[in-house]
């Protein structure tokens, strides 16, 4: 799925990375605990979260993620957007709640399996 399509499905505003919205991603995850993202996530390219701080963007960067979606209309700070631009990460903000945002993407075909994981 293209990041642009994600933004449309989630009614999201693109906060930075407009030039990368045509890139394809094939899996996502949702969490407010960066500890868990760092420890359990594998090859998911999109992170949906209700937590807003610089560590969210850095965690995504460490995990080689391509897109961060803030739910419930949370707005990232300028500083966070600078870090995201520097790392080539697209940042979106959506009015949807976490459950609805994840469900919407999932039911439209964005799964949980990363690029390098086998599909059972």
């Amino acid at each position: 799925m293209k990041i642009l399509e994600i933004s449309k499905l989630l009614n999201a505003e693109i906060c930075c990375g407009e030039d990368r919205v045509e890139s394809e991603v094939c899996s996502a995850c949702g969490s407010d605990m960066m500890s868990d993202v760092l420890a359990f996530v594998k090859d998911q390219a999109v992170l949906l979260t209700g937590l807003v701080n610089s560590q969210v963007i850095r965690t995504a960067e460490m995990m080689d993620m391509r897109c961060v979606v803030f739910v419930r209309n949370k707005k990232p700070s300028e500083e966070m957007l600078e870090i995201a631009k520097d790392s080539g990460i697209v940042v979106l903000t959506s009015p949807m709640r976490m459950y609805e945002a994840c469900g919407t993407l999932y039911s439209n075909g964005l799964g949980i399996k990363g690029e390098n994981e086998s599909h059972e």
Binding site: S35, L38, A39, S54, R58, M62, M63
Partner: protein, 140 residues
């Protein structure tokens, strides 16, 4: 390349917002050295977890990364309170982080085990009231 390439970073313990800057910079350095993305990710995750720990548990410290021909070594040194029981601290889910840290998205007690998982070797030297030094290596 017999002499390692050495990168040193001061990690500011008073600023949660800047925590992780060293790991982001190191990740860029490793990309320029054309090291495989898989190795880079493992080094970055282990270093980032350690860097966050230094900020939230130890008031900052120094991170040193040495790139050898056959391995990458990460040493994280702080003068914080030390770890009373290293074996306990290494267990998944053990955390002394307060609610305030959990509200920032950390404090699940997953960091140290994750550092071990992402590296080929890891050792912790810690003394109460003196500080903690964590050394990790990732083979190339």
């Amino acid at each position: 390349m017999s002499e390692p390439l050495v990168y040193t970073f001061a990690v500011d313990g008073d600023n949660f917002t800047s925590a992780g800057e060293a790991s982001v910079k190191m990740k860029k350095n490793l990309r320029m050295l054309a090291i495989s993305p898989d190795i880079i990710r493992r080094v970055a995750i282990a270093m980032y977890e350690g860097e966050i720990n230094m900020v939230i548990h130890a008031g900052g410290g120094v991170a040193t990364v040495s790139v050898y021909a056959d391995k990458i070594e990460i040493v994280l040194k702080d003068n914080g309170p030390g770890i009373a029981d290293v074996e306990l601290a290494m267990r998944e889910g053990f955390s002394t982080a307060p609610e305030t840290i959990r509200n920032l998205g950390f404090g699940a007690g997953m960091g140290l085990p994750n550092m071990k998982k992402n590296t080929d070797s890891m050792s912790i030297e810690s003394a109460l009231g003196v500080g903690t030094t964590i050394s990790m290596t990732v083979n190339l």
